[in-house]
């Protein structure tokens, strides 16, 4: 059987998810032996930019027309399109204030030149093309990437937890920051998979993996308000990585 062809792409983002791929130090050589990486601009200067791909892994959000065009072109080439990272899955940090008027913001950063820039509000990949699989996280977890490839090679969709960070946090037997210290932890509505990384370190979760499908942000918001946080501050916090992470 021939090896599946793979392309790894970055739209607008911090390249963190591609870096996570390169950070799979122990598995990297196994990985490149199992798949045929045809297009990976961040790691190679010899890329086939037109060929059909079995798997396209796309990081970053859509922030320019150029991004959108590139994404559509990737979609056309790919049998299976995988969104890598919270930017690609949810919009991520750049989508935090998606409702805001970009004109003045561009001018503030770039001056008069800003007006001419190709720039639009951050969108997740699924808002532009059909996405077959989401691997969330900011950045994604190494293990999730490896298990995704392992499952995809067998033809299966990988399994990721659907429950919130709290569940993992409790499994790790952490002291609850929200209850014991009144800190604004987003664990109850954020999808698990990071093994409660932040609360384990006594740092409240800021929701970098995006919301669980079944989130109840209204109730969390009410609790945080009771603890004395102001509403705007909490809403900001709940939607840091995903525009749909907080009630309006």
């Amino acid at each position: 059987m021939s090896k599946p062809t793979v392309g790894i792409f970055g739209l607008t983002g911090c390249a963190g998810d591609q870096l996570v791929i390169l950070n799979c130090e122990d598995r990297l050589l196994d990985l490149v032996a199992l798949v045929d990486i045809r297009d990976f601009l961040m790691a190679s200067s010899d890329n086939q930019t037109e060929c059909a791909l079995d798997i396209a892994l796309v990081e970053g959000a859509v922030l320019t027309k150029k991004d959108a065009d590139a994404l559509r072109a990737i979609r056309k080439r790919a049998k299976l399109l995988v969104a890598l990272g919270s930017c690609a899955v949810w919009g991520g940090i750049p989508a935090m204030d998606r409702g805001m008027d970009r004109g003045p913001m561009l001018e503030e950063v770039y001056g008069d030149a800003g007006a001419g820039y190709d720039s639009q509000a951050a969108q997740a990949l699924h808002e532009v093309v059909t996405v077959d699989l989401n691997i969330t996280g900011c950045p994604i977890e190494k293990e999730h990437f490896i298990s995704a490839i392992a499952s995809l090679l067998n033809g299966d969709a990988p399994l990721y937890p659907k429950y919130p960070v709290c569940t993992e946090c409790r499994m790790r037997e952490n002291n609850c920051l929200l209850i014991e210290r009144g800190l604004p932890c987003c664990g109850p509505i954020t999808v698990a998979g990071c093994n409660a990384r932040c609360p384990e370190l006594r740092v409240p979760c800021i929701g970098c993996r995006g919301p669980i499908g079944d989130a109840n942000p209204a109730s969390l918001l009410a609790v945080m308000e009771e603890k004395g946080y102001n509403r705007e501050e909490i809403v900001n916090r709940l939607r840091m990585f995903a525009p749909q992470g907080a009630p309006q």
Binding site: G10, L11, T12, G13, C14, A15, G16, L19, V20, L22, N23, E25, D26, L28, L29, V32, I37, F40, L41, M42, A43, S44, S45, D46, N47, L63, T64, K66, I93, P94, M96, M100, P104, M105, L106, E107, E108, V109, Y110, G111, D112, G116, Y117, D118, S119, A122, C138, P139, R197, C198, E200, L201, R202, V203, I206, C208, E233, N236, R237, M240
Partner: protein, 430 residues
């Protein structure tokens, strides 16, 4: 008129290209184009609470995410007048070193080296030179282990917070790091061997101005607030609060980034600049290594930045070991981060990210929300210098062969280890 274009620069972080215009033999224009989308993170963080600033601005760039995080924290702490504990200072420095090890190992071996040896990628190189790639992966992994242990994650650290750390590493974790670093010490020679074995890259000679953080102690990536600008025959000091004199406003229409010069001349930041400004550590083992690499400071060849990174890789391992020894000597404490009392005011911090000077400067209101944020990244500072060096390279290329020029330009761009996502964040208009 002829034009040489490189549409999409490979093996760098982010999206950029190169355009050279020639009128006969005369180079009329050299452009390092950046077309990475603007995420407008500085305006986005406006009005946001101080505890969200570092995690948001860390996302400017993954490879320098620890540097962005720590610089951001330092700026906020400066604004609020917080002094962190000595243990925190040490741990932060260690985190920066971890990031530097990861970043340099990735860049030197996997992004830059393939150019010298004519491979399209490290993956292709691995087939013939597995040892070099395995060495790179080992070093990278060590750098990541340091970041995971201290920062809680290899990319976008979570453990570093305003006032300190969520949780200090345990004794066992430090001991594990030490044993990894001791192992890496034995790899140091191999790093230098490999670097020394690469064919010379000598196609761009230029007098270069360098800028780096002047370190109060031996050399530090994290401490200090003075920048030294070093040119042949002149030295200038810029204080942190006066950082804008490094970043004069220059709108560049072809790019989402803007260019910086100091007193009218472009300058280079990064490993080479750091060694030039802080040569005190280049003794013993490092001096020997430097000789083997035939590196003379101040250098007039931007490609020497790759050599400087290799030297820093060796130095980072040494320095990390020193830090761990000191932490073990002092006894690692499970301390909490400093209490935070927001107040209105401004704070600026300068550090050395793997690629060079990184500046974060904030103004806060009395609730601890950002009024304005300003981030100056190394690649943005380097942009003018990159163009200048590319111009020299074209001028110094005798046969004007397009393929040769194109290859050299790419090598120069990569030698700067540009981080294009970073560069999109530039000074605000004044």
């Amino acid at each position: 008129m002829s034009v040489i274009t490189i549409d999409h620069l490979a093996r760098v972080e982010g999206h950029g290209g190169i355009t050279v215009e020639l009128q006969g033999d005369v180079v009329t224009d050299v452009r390092f184009d950046i077309f990475e989308g603007s995420r407008l993170l500085e305006p986005i963080v406006k009005g946001k609470h101080y505890d969200k600033i570092a995690p948001s601005l860390s996302r400017i760039c993954s490879i320098c995410s620890a540097a962005h995080t720590l610089t951001s924290l330092k700026a906020t702490e400066n604004a609020f007048g917080i002094r962190v504990s000595p243990q925190t200072e040490l741990l932060r420095e260690l985190l920066m070193r971890g990031e530097s090890i990861e970043s340099h190992a990735l860049h030197v071996f996997m992004l830059a080296a393939p150019d010298y040896l004519n491979y399209p990628s490290a993956i292709a190189m691995a087939a013939d030179k597995p040892a070099a790639v395995l060495l790179a992966l080992r070093m990278k992994k060590l750098g990541n282990l340091i970041q995971e242990t201290i920062g809680g994650r290899a990319v976008h650290p979570v453990n570093a917070v305003v006032g300190g750390f969520g949780k200090a590493p345990s004794l066992d974790q430090l001991i594990e790091l030490r044993s990894g670093l001791l192992q890496a010490q034995t790899d140091s020679d191999v790093v230098i061997d490999f670097m020394a074995s690469l064919p010379a890259a000598d196609f761009c000679r230029a007098d270069t101005t360098y800028a780096a953080l002047r370190s109060p102690n031996l050399d530090s990536y994290y401490n200090g607030d003075e920048v030294m600008v070093f040119a042949k025959g002149s030295r200038a000091i810029v204080q942190a609060d006066d950082y804008r004199s490094l970043t004069n406003e220059k709108a560049v229409p072809h790019s989402h980034a803007k260019h910086s010069t100091f007193r009218g001349s472009p300058f280079m930041v990064g490993s080479l600049a750091r060694l030039t400004v802080n040569p005190r550590r280049l003794t013993g083992k490092l001096a020997v290594a430097m000789k083997r690499l035939k590196l003379v400071l101040p250098a007039d060849n931007p490609m020497d930045n790759n050599k400087a990174q290799a030297l820093e890789l060796v130095n980072d391992v040494e320095r990390s070991l020193e830090i761990i020894e000191q932490l073990l000597r002092d006894g690692i404490k499970d301390e909490r981060s400093m209490p935070v009392h927001p107040r209105a005011g401004s704070g600026t911090a300068i550090t050395e990210a793997p690629r060079g000077l990184l500046i974060h400067s904030y103004v806060y209101d009395d609730r601890g929300c950002i009024v304005s944020a300003d981030v100056i990244t190394p690649t943005a500072l380097n942009a003018a210098s990159i163009e200048q060096h590319m111009r020299r390279a074209v001028e110094q290329c005798e046969d004007r062969d397009e393929a040769v020029i194109s290859r050299r330009l790419q090598m120069i761009a990569r030698a700067y280890d540009p981080c294009i996502s970073c560069s999109v964040h530039l000074v605000r208009k004044r």
